[in-house]
């Protein structure tokens, strides 16, 4: 039992992180905290992939000519490099949107923003005055 747990230690961490992140995304009203939750959620998937590719006792996948050498699988690690880039872009875009939301609504709390929604929207469409005059 204990040995089994120790063997899948990485995956237990993955599940805990995944649930923590997902819970924060769903339950937190603060937009920044939602973003943090999303990052934790994505990070759990990174660890999942990295654990998949790791062989017990495996070394870095650099060919050394010895047929007995055990290599780790580099492909999941490379995939996660891409996923990390996507994750960074997502976080950056999310934080940029939060900045703009804070400027427009004066708050980053979801309940306050929803309450403010009913009021007048920010601005009118920019339209040429010549047509408006007609």
């Amino acid at each position: 039992m204990i040995e089994q747990l120790a063997g899948s230690w990485n995956y237990i961490i993955v599940v805990i992180l995944m649930m923590t992140g997902l819970f924060m995304v769903i339950a937190r009203a603060n937009l920044v905290k939602k973003m943090i939750g999303l990052s934790i959620f994505q990070t759990s998937v990174f660890i999942f992939y990295i654990s998949l590719g790791k062989m017990a006792g495996g070394t870095a996948p650099i060919l050394d000519g010895n047929p007995d050498t055990l290599y780790s699988n580099p492909l999941p690690h490379v995939l996660i490099l891409t996923a990390i880039v996507v994750g960074v872009a997502t976080t950056a875009l999310g934080l940029a949107l939060i900045l703009r939301i804070n400027e427009a609504f004066g708050s980053v709390e979801e309940d306050e923003i929803i309450a403010a929604k009913a009021s007048q929207s920010l601005a009118r469409p920019k339209r040429p005055t010549s047509e408006a005059a007609e």
Binding site: L22, V25, L31, K34, M35, L38, F41, Q42, V45, F48, Y49, L52, L75, P76, L79, T82, A83, V86, A89, T90, L93, G94, L97, I98, R100, I101, A104, F105, I113, K117, S121, L122, A123, R124, P125, K126, R127, P128, E131, A132, E134
Partner: protein, 498 residues
């Protein structure tokens, strides 16, 4: 030279929009950025038409990016199914770009126009890649390219309505969770099969002792794509996103964005998991069919109670996506071709409707609601008539494209003897007339408020709009092309192997 271009068409379809995007971002003149976007989408449309004519006879193009042999390298696959989706998406993308010139000039600040068209091209290029790629992880990358770019486009609606920012944020978070779910699923399937190539996965899955990992991986992949395709109950991001986005963006996204995700869903079911039909059958008949029917009703009923026109038709999109998903989930050749027919026709219908709403918003200088469009039928006859045609097509009146969709969907359902679903589809069709009638009654039968200013109709908006509206009539009368192409698509999809 000519031959080199022809053999590299699949790659060009993605490369041209992606390459033009950064140029468009730095162009100081808004008009030039639009020309770039128009050139990019125009070339894509031509390329998609060429690919379609090549794959018409069941030919399957396998393009190896960078000449790396699959399964090691990334493979683009164009068969009758993906080429039909590509033609629909690039055609409507081109028309939406035509209409965008005027809509963007009104709603987006001039200094942001370059960046707007850059994001626009990224969305289109990303969606093309999504449809063509046969690499499960590469698909995630294209998914995120188009999703992040569409969040930017939606957020640009903040100039006219600050709620666009919140809508964009929610789409970003929900979409990112969906995409991450898909990646988790791919991880499981990769762990079982040791490959990322879809065709390779399909051939290895039946022999691989997957066990629970197979079910978990399948579930995560499907749920992730359900979010992106906006299928009930994970559609909640869609009404606000389409409702508050700039008019041009609503047109583009409503016409083509969810279609790509629906096509990917079909490929997950019928290509990747073709070798394990037992789990696909359970998922389709016990989960996707009820969800699709649920989405049809929720979308229609929400549309009936909505007073804001853009949000009303966004809710109606949820219902229409339900019809497409229902057709695909029947998993019979007739059902899948009905799904593909509606992918094409719904793009025509919703593209036209959102273009017309854009025309109203541009002339009114205010959000289009049941109140503001009162009597607009006589004040803007050209735009409103095209809107009427698209609306009738949405309701499924004979001689319009929408009728063909409903006809083939009903036939496909009759073939499977599921009369409960048939009854539900017919009831929901009748319900959709309720909200359409509400809009048409306000537009055409009520007088405009006294002393209302004269509204100017702009040919830059109504010319592309009428092309779409006439398309609705054309494909309603002569449906031979789309029906034939959809049949071939269904055969290609069910034929197994990617």
């Amino acid at each position: 030279m000519g031959a080199a271009i022809l053999t590299n068409l699949p790659a060009l379809l993605v490369v041209v929009p992606l390459l033009l995007a950064p140029f468009s971002a730095v162009l100081p003149i808004a008009g030039l950025a639009w020309v770039l976007a128009l050139v990019g989408t125009g070339i894509s449309f031509l390329a998609a038409l060429m690919l379609q004519s090549v794959t018409e006879n069941g030919v399957r193009i396998s393009y190896h990016l960078g000449n790396w042999e699959p399964p090691w390298g990334i493979e683009f696959v164009v068969d009758s199914a993906s080429s039909l989706t590509l033609v629909v998406m690039s055609g409507l993308g081109f028309l939406a770009t035509l209409a965008a010139r005027r809509l963007v000039a009104i709603e987006i600040a001039d200094k942001d126009s370059g960046k707007f068209y850059a994001a626009w091209l990224l969305v289109i290029g990303g969606l093309f890649g999504l449809v063509m790629t046969a690499d499960a992880f590469n698909l995630f990358v294209f998914l995120e390219i188009s999703a992040l770019a569409s969040v930017i486009l939606i957020g640009m609606g903040a100039g006219t309505d600050r709620r666009a920012l919140v809508a964009g944020y929610h789409y970003l978070v929900i979409g990112a969770v969906g995409a991450t779910f898909y990646v988790i699923g791919v991880g499981f399937i990769y762990a079982i099969t040791g490959t990322l190539n879809m065709g390779d996965m399909a051939s290895r899955l039946p022999d691989a002792a997957g066990g629970a990992a197979l079910y978990v991986g399948f579930g995560f992949m499907v749920v992730g794509m359900l979010v992106k395709a906006a299928i009930f109950p994970v559609h909640i991001w869609l009404p606000a996103a389409y409702g508050y986005a700039p008019s041009a963006v609503s047109t583009l996204l409503a016409a083509i964005a969810t279609k790509a995700a629906l096509y990917v869903l079909a490929r997950i079911f019928f290509t990747i998991f073709a070798g394990t039909p037992e789990i696909v059958d359970i998922a389709l008949s016990n989960i996707i069919v009820p969800l699709a029917v649920g989405g049809i009703f929720v979308g229609t009923i929400m549309a009936i109670y909505e007073a804001d026109i853009k949000k009303m038709f966004a809710h109606s999109s949820v219902a229409q996506i339900g019809y497409i998903a229902l057709g695909l989930a029947l998993a019979t050749p007739a059902g899948i071709s009905a799904g593909f027919i509606h992918i094409g026709n719904h793009a025509l219908i919703k593209g036209g409707i959102f273009m017309a709403i854009g025309g109203f918003v541009a002339a009114l200088g205010a959000r289009a609601s049941l109140e503001t469009i009162t009597g607009i039928g006589r004040r803007m006859p050209i735009t409103a008539t095209a809107f009427l045609i698209c609306g009738l097509s949405l309701a499924g009146l004979p001689l319009t494209a929408g009728f063909i969709s409903k006809l083939y969907l009903v036939r496909a359902i009759l073939e499977t003897d599921s009369y409960v679903i048939l009854a539900l589809v017919l009831i929901s069709s009748a319900l959709s007339v309720v909200y359409l009638w509400k809009v048409m009654e306000v537009m055409w039968m009520q007088p405009a408020p006294a002393r209302s200013p004269k509204l100017v109709e702009n040919p830059a908006i109504y010319l592309p709009l009428w092309m779409v509206a006439l398309g609705n009539i054309w494909f309603g009368i002569d449906a031979g092309w789309i029906v034939g192409a959809a049949r071939l698509a269904a055969t290609a999809l069910l034929g197994g192997g990617a």
